[in-house]
Symmetry: C2
Subunit: 215 residues, 2 copies
DNA sequence: AAGTGTATTTATGTATACAATTATACTGAT
DNA sequence: ATCAGTATAATTGTATACATAAATACACTT
């Protein structure tokens, strides 16, 4: 499912790339870009770049002004708000997923979890982050609700920059994988209440770990 | 604040117009559009139209395919999910607003409420809807959190099509204005707990009224 | 030296021409 | 009649030229 063999448009590639560069902190807050700078850097015309920029603007990751493109990114305060919201609704998405997930989707979720568990003892932070992130994304999708997906995905993505320290902390990485395992088993057993409960606890733990650090 | 004397770009005007036409139900679900049809209908070039369409696609209101542009809109199931989420987080936004709102912002909120109260006995559904909607939007903004604003605004906007019947029902319109008044007084008194409580109750009532109708 | 008005530069906004992909219609064979 | 293959048409994707508006630099006045 969603194998995406189709060719992805330049605009989408650029959007993904710029979004990642902003969320990862490569572009600093208040940094000023211009379309022409991106044209020369990326080697494509303004059209797909503009499309990507407008999508980023809609996510409030940049602000397009007459002076140029101002990088906004995600602040520490944003982060607190994000976790407050996720604590309240991400559990519901897990419950919905537990109640309606198919065997095929379950297999996909299991594989993602096992990949995360594979990389944790190997301390491969990059891969851990990828599969940790994908685990949440799959649950959003398997909730079957595009409203929940559209609401949670942007919130989840925006934590990215701050998740780095989290996955590089070994004890937290181990604990996080265990929590994912618990959520997965609850979903696999189609136990909605338990899936919800474990998910909320997981978000609370992640929030405690990430927010504690200050900035 | 946000008087917007500046000229608005064509792309933004078209986005607002198309978004409204989809959310109001003017364009039916599964209806097929093309860029060229919009070019001839709206009398502008493809560029601003494409920008608007890409923003609509990001909000999942349309799907852009090779066959053309498929209108998605908002389903009854979406609506149930939307109210479930709003019940859980919109109260927090009200509490935040109560705790930090300025006198100037308060005056703005009061004026919006009084306009709603002005039009309710006159049974002017269009105006009631505008100020009802603006009341919620202002609270999102005055929460001071762009995360809450960005999360709640799209959810709120998507109820639009279904709110029509609501504001045209006189008893519900009267009741809704009363509930807004209660929320406003709590915010004006900087009573966060009460603002949160009243807001949650208001969302629950709105959900009961709108979801009850089926579709 | 400070401020104002103006010219210039630089940025995004828009229109249009061209490319590439995909859906569709049509023709022919079985 | 049905299906496969192919040609055609219609669609979105991309590049570029032009328009417009704002920020900046600079000269001039006081």
């Amino acid at each position: 499912m969603e194998m995406d063999h189709r060719t992805v448009s330049l605009a989408e590639q650029i959007f993904d790339r710029l979004e990642n560069e902003i969320l990862s902190g490569y572009y600093q807050r208040d940094e000023l870009l211009t379309e022409m700078k991106l044209v020369t850097d990326l080697g494509v015309s303004r059209t797909p770049i503009r499309e990507a920029l407008h999508r980023l603007e809609q996510e409030h990751l940049i602000d397009i002004t007459q002076k140029g493109i101002v990088v906004l990114g995600v602040t520490q305060k944003d982060l607190a708000d994000i976790f407050e919201i996720r604590e309240r609704i991400e559990g519901i998405a897990s419950r919905m997923a537990a109640e309606r997930i198919t065997d095929e989707q379950l297999a996909q979720l299991r594989e993602t979890l096992e990949l995360q568990e594979f990389y944790v003892p190997r301390k491969d932070a990059d891969h851990i982050k990828i599969y940790d992130s994908q685990f949440h994304k799959l649950i959003y999708r398997f909730s079957g609700s595009s409203v929940y997906y559209d609401t949670l995905m942007p919130l989840h993505k925006k934590v990215q920059k701050y998740r780095k320290a989290s996955v590089e902390n070994e004890s937290r990485a181990v604990q996080s994988a265990k929590e994912h395992r618990g959520i997965f088993e609850a979903i696999a057993a189609h136990d909605g209440a338990k899936a919800e409960q474990y998910t909320v606890a997981h978000i609370v733990n992640a929030a405690n770990h990430i927010l504690k650090r200050g900035n």
